[in-house]
């Protein structure tokens, strides 16, 4: 019987461990902190739990729009909000623990260090160590928050994203450094809870990721503005002076030309949240000693079979860095791929059509190429944009913000990318992901009946706009 040691119990690690165990492999999974990894404990799940509380508060403030009266002044009780978050995490964690046990996985709570291609030394509690031998090792140790030397996190008022999920008090004035996915999601959550938020982003748009279409960035910027979230683009925080009274005087400097008027601008806030990126979690793992190669920034490098430079050692998930889409669902599929390869099946990882979902308010869901990316790849591109507010369901729900954008190939009508922003965009994108993975055209979508009245009709309408005369 084959033996696999999985280092890391996050989505990459546990998915690999469960699949291997089901295939009859003897699995040892080592986790240094908490099962579920970043996703369950400090990422996906806690942020969405906070977002749900923020949504509840938002709705409480909007009841009159729907003809509901009689509710007094609603506000967030952060102790209760955080307690609920812990409860949800607890439920999910217990589920993972039970599954480990039922599959007979040897779960070790401790820190793993590679001793060779087939041996790991685990440091358990109380100074006890245990050696685990295996045929293969899968590294799934993930990533952690990046600290800026100019802006060291102090966990009291200069915060990391981990801290932002544990704030007992809402800061009246908050600056968020970095307008990527995490910073943007936090901005809308904290604005909902009552903070006056300013986002400082180094590039010239919010969500400056290649997969995010420029029109999505533009709409999010407008929606942020409407909610009173200030955004300073093309700028960075040069300096944060913690004052004697606990407030922070932040100096904003220019990175590009667009923010001339903010050069050297000083803003007084109560807290600073640093969300400028993440770094690989490989300290003490022993990768250098064993010869597992990394790139210049320390992210582990793998081939298309998830194999590292040491053939018996595989790596999946965040520890591979941004070149591999740092997403929980990608880590999970990479985990399955690694296990298949351990079992000799020779499976290649396919990164086309990875959906990405962003829980800002309004939400964003996208899959495939942005219009810009499609053009850069040499496609003859046609695109359409259908506004959310043109849908009867959106009007009935009174959720007007957003749009459905389809990027397709001229002539064939093959769908190259779908970008949705608005209510439920993160769920609506699933239809688009299936369409892309099946190589669908806009005609396939328009020949599919979409129930009325639903938000899903937006995908239909955007495809309809592109389905003029077929070129064939």
């Amino acid at each position: 019987m084959s033996r696999i040691t999985v280092i890391g119990g996050g989505p990459g690690g546990y998915t690999a461990a469960f699949a291997a165990a089901k295939a009859g492999v003897k699995v040892t999974m080592v986790e240094a902190l908490a099962i579920g990894g970043t996703c369950l404990n400090w990422g996906c799940i806690p942020t969405k739990t906070l977002r749900a509380s923020a949504d509840a508060l938002e709705m409480a403030h909007r009841l009159a729009e729907f003809g509901i009266e009689g509710i007094g002044e609603a506000r967030a009780n952060m102790q209760a909000v955080l307690a609920r978050k812990e409860r949800v995490i607890g439920v999910m964690r217990k589920g993972l623990e039970k599954k480990c046990a039922s599959l007979g996985i040897n779960f070790l709570q401790g820190h793993a260090a590679l001793q060779g291609a087939n041996r790991v030394l685990v440091s358990l509690q109380g100074g006890i160590t245990q050696e685990v031998e295996s045929d293969f090792i899968i590294i799934a140790t993930g990533s952690r928050t990046l600290d800026l030397p100019s802006l060291p996190v102090n966990h009291t008022n200069i915060l990391s994203s981990d801290d932002a999920l544990n704030m007992a008090k809402i800061p009246p004035r908050l600056i968020i450094v970095g307008g990527g996915v995490i910073g943007s999601e936090m901005a809308f959550i904290y604005q909902s809870f009552g903070s006056k938020v300013t986002i400082v982003e180094g590039q010239n748009r919010l969500l400056p990721l290649p997969s995010v279409d420029e029109e999505v960035s533009k709409l999010l910027l407008r929606e942020a503005k409407k909610k009173g979230i200030a955004t300073v683009l093309g700028s960075t925080v040069q300096h944060a002076d913690v004052q004697p009274d606990g407030t922070i005087l932040v100096t904003i400097g220019v990175t590009g030309d667009n923010a001339k008027e903010h050069s050297g601008q000083k803003i007084e806030v109560d807290a600073v949240l640093v969300t400028v990126g993440r770094v690989p979690q490989t300290q003490g793992l022993g990768i250098e000693q064993v010869g597992v190669a990394t790139d210049a920034r320390g992210w582990i490098t793998v081939n298309e079979y998830m194999q590292t430079s040491v053939s018996a050692i595989f790596a999946v998930g965040d520890v591979l860095g941004p070149a591999h889409n740092m997403l929980a669902h990608v880590a999970a599929v990479e985990g399955l791929c690694a296990v298949a390869n351990c079992l000799g099946k020779k499976e290649q990882m396919d990164y086309r059509n990875v959906p990405s979902v962003i829980f800002t308010n309004p939400e964003v869901g996208s899959v495939g190429l942005s219009a810009q990316e499609a053009r850069e790849k040499g496609y003859a591109v046609k695109s359409s944009l259908f506004h959310m507010r043109e849908l009867g369901k959106a009007q009935a729900m009174n959720e007007l913000a957003g749009f459905f954008k389809i990027v397709a190939e001229e002539g064939t009508g093959k769908i190259l990318g779908v970008h949705i922003t608005g209510a439920h965009a993160t769920d609506l994108i699933a239809e688009a992901t299936l369409a892309l993975s099946l190589g669908a055209t806009v005609y396939d979508v328009t020949h599919t009946i979409h129930a009325h009245p639903t938000l899903a009709e937006g995908v239909f309408e955007a495809c309809l706009a592109l389905s003029g005369q077929r070129a064939d």
Binding site: E261, H387, R389, E390
Partner: protein, 129 residues
């Protein structure tokens, strides 16, 4: 159907913006009576910050109503020297006073600005039929 009007002293663009050129090289920008009528009740006007510069025909903002979202395009190149803050609280000024209280930007018109987008009230109105 109410009579829509297009004051003769203003210039217009096919994208439904109007421009009032002042002495001293400044101008005021807004959208036409036709545009506000098409939009129906304006819910939000997204205006740029003072100091921004836009080329002739460039997108400078957006206007939202219950039914639609439309981009706003510069009639002529220039630097934004003032925006109408009253529209933040009362966006419907664009509907009730498109040529006065509903003004959007005051700009300093660029010296070498491309003026080819500007047409007379008569040409603009004729184009709407």
């Amino acid at each position: 159907m109410t009579e829509l009007n297009y004051p003769e002293e203003l210039l217009y663009t096919r994208e439904h913006a109007w421009l009032l050129i002042n002495q001293g090289g400044t101008g005021i920008v807004g959208i036409s009576d036709f545009a506000q009528d098409q939009l129906d009740e304006v819910a939000y006007v997204d205006l740029p910050s003072v100091g921004s510069f836009f080329d002739s025909g460039a997108e400078f903002g957006a206007i939202e109503s219950i039914k639609s979202v439309n981009h706003l395009y510069m009639p002529v190149a220039g630097e934004v020297i003032a925006v109408n803050d009253a529209l933040a609280d009362t966006p419907t000024l664009v509907n009730t006073e498109p040529y006065s209280g509903g003004w959007m930007l005051t700009i300093r018109i660029a010296e070498d600005a491309d003026r080819s987008l500007l047409i007379s009230a008569r040409e603009y109105a004729a184009g709407l039929k």
